[in-house]
Subunit: 150 residues, 2 copies
DNA sequence: ATAATTGCAAACGATTTGCACTGCG
DNA sequence: CGCAGTGCAAATCGTTTGCAATTAT
């Protein structure tokens, strides 16, 4: 029995990156490591703020560059939200998200993948379907509480 | 037997707006009318371009103001897409969307509402669920054709 | 009459880009 | 060493805002 640790995931991810001919810089590794350890779904700015102590000169451009790279490599998912900042999610297993419309909090939500939706969409529209996105919106318990009080 | 025409929908929508104490300006009515007649899912800029002939001085701010108003009144849905422009959809009946990742084309897609997802999400997360969003992505037939050729 | 709406331009915020410099391999 | 990656500032783009002028009611 082998237990996969965060450290293993980091090593494996770095390996995957090297395979595509990408250099492992300290900044890149720090962003990657932050994504792996992060439980929530950070924005680019969240990551910037978290790393600026260790890398006083790091720039947001570097954060964005690396997030795009990780996305292209399939390590990270981007969750875009209209006018607001995108949130980023290190890909462990497939899951959906429940999002608070008041405070923006994102909670993971396990639900069987809606494969039949993709199949039907393919038949009906003749699109070459690649993926889908599903999100549930509402008020998180805290915001619901605050709203009912006021 | 009564057949609902676009003109009826317009009249009904205007009535709904008046009820909330909103003034019916020519620009407002033009945006509304465009939304009702539009088969695709226009961006604010699409609407601007479509109306600038009739209203040479109309500004994007007015388009956005009215779209926000229609959204608040429940006449129109906004479909935000990350860094790109939001698209707007006059609400007739509930449906999902299939979106081309290459050209951005949006096709309506009828599928029974995923109510059980909302119910489960409510139980699992204790959120006060209000709605959900589901979209299927892929290549539209035209883009798939072009991709395979190159 | 008067408060809501318009149009304009400036502001904003997230993200991208150009480019000289740095440092990983 | 050479070229990919960084950091900086400026640019971009969708959207919002402040405000004076207009207009629906």
């Amino acid at each position: 029995m082998h237990h996969t640790t965060e450290h293993d995931i980091l090593k494996e991810s770095i390996h995957k990156l090297r395979e595509t001919g990408v250099r492992i810089t300290p900044q890149r590794q720090a962003v990657l490591n932050y994504m792996i350890k992060s439980d929530d779904h950070p924005t680019a700015d969240d990551i910037y703020k978290a790393l600026v102590d260790e890398f006083p000169n790091i720039s947001v451009a570097t954060i964005y560059n690396n997030l795009r790279l990780f996305k292209d490599t399939g390590l990270v998912n981007e969750l875009p939200y209209g006018d607001a900042s995108s949130r980023f999610d290190f890909i462990t297993s497939a899951h959906y998200h429940v999002i608070c419309t008041e405070c923006g909090k994102i909670t993971d939500f396990n639900y069987p993948a809606l494969n039949e939706v993709e199949t039907l969409a393919k038949h009906v529209t003749n699109f070459d379907i690649t993926h889908h996105r599903m999100e549930v919106y509402g008020l998180c318990p805290e915001c619901a509480e605050n709203t009912s009080k006021s």
